[in-house]
Amino acid sequence: MQQPKTLFKKIWDKHIVVEENGAPAVLYIDLHLIHEITSPQAFAGLHERGLPVRRPDKTIATMDHSTPTTNLSLPIHDSQAKAQLEKLKQNCEAFGIELYEMGSPRNGIVHVIAPESGMIQPGKTVVCGDSHTSTHGALGALAFGIGTSEVEHVLGTQCLLQYKPKTYQVQINGTLEAGISAKDIILALIAKIGTGGGTGHVFEYTGTAINNLSIEERLTICNMSIEAGARAGMIAPDDTTIEYLSGKEFSPKEETWDRAVAYWKELPSDEGAEYDSQVSLEVSDLAPMITYGTNPGMGMKITDLIPDPALASTLEERKASEKALVYMDLRPGQKIINLPIDVAFLGSCANGRISDLRQAAAVMDGRKVADSVKMLVVPGSQEVKRQAESEGLDKVFKEAGADWREPGCSMCIAMNGDHLEPGQYAISTSNRNFEGRQGKGGRTFLASPLTVAASAVSGNITDARTIIN
């Protein structure tokens, strides 16, 4: 009998071109996503070698990190950003790569447009010069972020050198109470295992709570796998996956669809398949989660008190925690609820999808953003924006006093002019609260769309359950 295999191992084995002893495997890549920030030096390298892009048909480019979210018909003020966007356009033209340009109907954040258009399918290997490529594992693909040298490798050879990562089963069981979302699950996991807990591993999320999540919720979970140090996070394809992909632009059609579905059904991990590590998390008693520090592992229940760095197990950990609290201007033992905020950000590849906007809009309908708060709502893609506008969500946000913007990474990475001022506090649906991530000197609380919406209308950090019931 064949050895039982994990989902990861099935996809890995099928994509090995060469595996020699003492060297990393040559792994074939089915889909290469690129954007303006991590590609220019890779194209320059390829150009120097005098080589073409091996498979432009397996490569898709978008503009997302430094694109403005205000009026797209105006010229871009930032000359460096403008030059970088123009470079991407020139490179795509020169190398024959399809580009979803800023403002075009298919443009958006790379990790939003690829799943929504059906490009990401179970069993595929997907890479991008972007750590949040882990997002796409939600559809049963093996997807991970790479550096620019590796972008050059994939452009030129459609392959990557990779050591086989270890596998890590993340069992998430239980039933979520009202007001608790996928973002709270993943923040709770990262708080439990730490930002380096998954290093060297690929996560496979399993368990009853995962089975009950929609694809958009699964995308939120897998998106933040990298924040626990895992390069990839995966969820086995099931009926929810198949239903999601049915009829999408890039999904297989007719007879190929039937063959694809049959193939996808073989992918889930076999009974008895072994993982290198395991962790389990019970989520029935989960509360909304929020971060208080400067990495996504510094998270806690919104109802808890800020932990004391003195409890850290090593000196370096204690120093990092103390530095984080100084940066955030918070104290051990302090309550986080009711702390005032200056900015509320709803968007990003973690939570910029239509279901995220719907949840926030449900809280904000008929309410006003507090006078002291500036709120930005940035849909993840033009498609999300169109859908939201067709449902009237834009009106809900605008009537509440929030800014309704054009799609892009925006204030998640603060490269496009949307940024915090030094010392400002933001509550944000994005995925990183590192020092200065949302603007030099800015301070970030990561939370779910519900918590962000509830806090925006209250003007301070609020448990959404207290206003939606």
Partner: protein, 201 residues
């Protein structure tokens, strides 16, 4: 890629866990389209005040560490974004080896492609190196990649792990692109038997 064989240098201590790539190089420095100019952004928000003046206490600004090449730092170094600008900036400043108890995966991969050696140590060795750097800031470490050893001023030494392929690439300054290209015929076979034949849908 530059090769790495031996290195003798003072230790630059930066005793913090989980230093992320947004600290190593903040996002506003990622708009460059070359590799050379990104060094300006290295630890920019820890090195400079908002008016652009250097922060004298930050270790990279201290005169004693100018010209030093070995960074000693906390666990999970390089977590966060995949930006290869982080090793470009570190190497641009003169850091050629980093010692820690762990490195984030993507950072580790990126470092190895830029002649930057990540040296993994256990917590005891890690602590003794911090003690050494504090007691004697002029202490020199000798790194020998061929032997996979680090030698302390008292002539004691310890070994560090590195996989054979990464070691070969670093010792020879070997370009991994060329290595993948050497399998061109296997890649072509794979495409015709697996991809085009529809075995992978």
């Amino acid at each position: 890629m530059p090769s790495f064989k031996k290195l003798t240098s003072k230790i630059i201590p930066l005793p913090l866990d989980n230093i992320d790539t947004d600290q190593i190089i903040p996002a506003r420095f990622l708009k460059a389209i070359d590799k050379e100019s990104v060094v300006e952004g290295l630890f920019a928000d820890w090195r400079y005040q908002s008016d652009g003046k250097p922060i004298p206490e930050f270790v990279l600004n201290q005169p004693a560490y100018q010209g030093a090449n070995i960074l000693l730092t906390g666990d999970n170094f390089g977590c966060g974004s995949s930006r290869e600008h982080a090793p470009w900036a570190l190497v641009g400043w003169g850091i050629h080896a980093i010692i820690s108890t762990s490195f984030a995966d993507i950072f580790n991969n990126n470092a190895l492609k830029n002649g930057l050696l990540p040296i993994l140590v256990d917590t005891k060795t890690h602590q003794s190196l911090f003690d050494l750097a504090e007691e004697n800031p002029d202490a020199m470490l000798k790194i020998n990649l061929e032997d996979q050893t680090v030698t302390l001023p008292n002539k004691n030494s310890f070994e560090f792990p590195i996989d054979a392929f990464a070691k070969k690439c670093l010792l020879n300054g070997m370009d991994q692109f060329g290595y993948i290209m050497s399998f061109e015929s296997q890649i072509r076979d794979f495409e015709s038997t697996q991809i085009e034949a529809g075995s992978i849908i």
